[in-house]
Amino acid sequence: MTIYIPTPLRAFAAGKDAVEVNAATIAAALDELTQAYPDLRKHLFTNEGKTRAFVNIYLNDEDVRYLPAKEATQVSAGDTLSIIPSIAGGCQTR
């Protein structure tokens, strides 16, 4: 399945905008991603392994937080995961 990497995080995924993984659940897919790109881990997860609050993970078009099984949800080859971080847009005037 495909994991879409947002622009602000591409530097930590060797510049890729999408990564292919082979996993059975959302948690396993993210694990495979951060094994391949360890620098991503701290941007996506806290030290305790929870998803950071300014990052949203979507399975297709649904926020994982609101899925009944959350990260344990099973995924298939045709699914996509999107990482959506917050962006403020425009230049820092300070």
Binding site: A53, Y66, A88, G89, G90, T93
Partner: protein, 392 residues
């Protein structure tokens, strides 16, 4: 159907209005009734920059009766790559004045209310309360959270748009039954994680795409037509020209708009976002790294001190402007760390002080005993020490 709350008595359309807005009047979705709603409407544009430019222009063109503009900034040449409401002759001029002039040239009947101020917890409720819809075109996280919270507290819909390089997001937050910005992002990213466009760059056309989307949503809210982006996050990738949509849910536990809100008045948003407070701009130390001002550096250079200035920008930037520092681009610092003298004080410098702060922290963590950050970077040097230094 979601609408902004408008006065019961709608203003009449003049003869000029009827000819100017004829293309709206013949649309069943607008008509005379709709155009009168637009004329009665009061919209606040927070920011008259990249997003605010197309947003304000299209709202003025559409016949919105009153536009409030919030901006304290001045037009800079580097703005003109995307802030199309401003012109070359406006460089150095207050953005509010430049914007007002263009908006009134387009639509002389437009009522423009200028708010020459930095939006803050002290004034936000007061400024926002007299408008029907708020369109957030700001460029930093603290203001995003401030505008969101103020909109929820006041019951004003927030036509949201944001951009980064060539990606954009748009949605409508803070309607009664819909999510707010905090439902999507309960917490801001740590400072320094998402680069500003001074560091990251932005495709000039991008705020055009997203700003007009915000204007479209604002008009739909006023007219009560179509399906606004409530509960939907529109994602734009301009390079691929792909538009995607994600579902947004109202978080019942949202501290601002949930069933048991804990945020019932505006807070210190700078602190919330982990930034130093407004009044504390001359903070001497940040994350353990002493902040050196450009004026102080100049004094030390003039005194003949032997300084190690580490410039962590890219080669093309160095070619545009430099203060003679040793160039090691930020991504090369780890592998070239041997070229940096541990025994000297290392003054790390970049364009505006963001990258250099991060590298300074990295050097400190790598055991360098004496590291400082040049606050404000080469831009501050140009502003405060040597105006001949090109800005970019």
């Amino acid at each position: 159907m979601n609408t902004a709350t408008l006065p019961i008595e709608l203003p009449e359309l003049t003869q000029d209005d009827l000819s100017r807005y004829s293309r709206h009047l013949i649309l069943p979705e607008v008509g005379v009734e709709g155009q009168r709603k637009l004329k009665a409407a009061r919209v606040l544009c927070v920011g008259t920059g990249g997003l605010g430019s197309p947003l304000a222009l299209y709202l003025a063109a559409a016949g919105v009766g009153t536009l409030g503009l919030v901006d304290f900034d001045v037009v800079d040449a580097s703005n003109l790559q995307r802030q199309i409401i401003h012109s070359t002759k406006d460089i150095g001029r207050k953005k509010l004045d430049s914007a007002e002039e263009k908006l009134k040239a387009l639509n002389p009947d437009l009522n423009v209310e200028k708010h020459d101020t930095l939006l803050s917890s002290a004034n936000a409720l007061d400024i926002l309360k007299d408008y029907d819809v708020v369109a957030d075109g700001t460029d930093n996280f603290p203001t995003r959270y401030l505008v969101n919270d103020a909109c929820v507290l006041l019951g004003k819909p927030n036509a949201y748009g944001s951009i980064f390089r060539f990606e954009g997001q748009a949605s409508v937050f803070a309607t009664k039954d819909g999510p707010c910005y905090r439902c999507l992002y309960p917490e801001p990213p740590p400072p320094g994680l998402v680069p500003s466009c001074a560091e990251g760059g932005v495709l000039g056309i991008l705020p055009g795409l997203v700003g007009v989307t915000q204007a479209t949503e604002t008009i739909k809210l006023i007219l009560g037509i179509g399906e606004p982006l409530i509960g939907r996050l529109l994602l734009v990738d301009a390079l691929k020209m792909r538009f995607r949509e994600l579902k947004l849910r109202k978080n019942p536990e949202c501290p601002v708009c949930g069933t048991r809100p804990t945020v019932t008045h505006l807070i210190d948003y700078q602190q919330f976002c982990g930034l130093e407070s407004e009044s504390d701009v001359q903070r001497a130390v940040k994350n353990g790294i002493p902040q050196l001002s450009v004026k102080e550096l100049k004094k030390r250079m003039d005194a003949g001190e032997n300084l190690f200035i580490l410039d962590v920008r890219e080669p093309f930037e160095y070619r545009i402007a430099n203060i003679g520092g040793k160039l090691i681009p930020q991504n090369e610092v780890p592998e070239r760390i041997g070229e940096i003298d541990r025994n000297q004080e290392i003054i790390v410098q970049c364009k505006s002080g963001g990258r250099s702060q991060r590298i300074a922290e990295f050097l400190k963590q790598s055991g360098f005993p004496n590291v400082a950050n040049l606050a404000g970077g080469i831009l501050a040097w140009s502003d405060e020490v040597d105006p001949r230094m090109p800005k970019y």
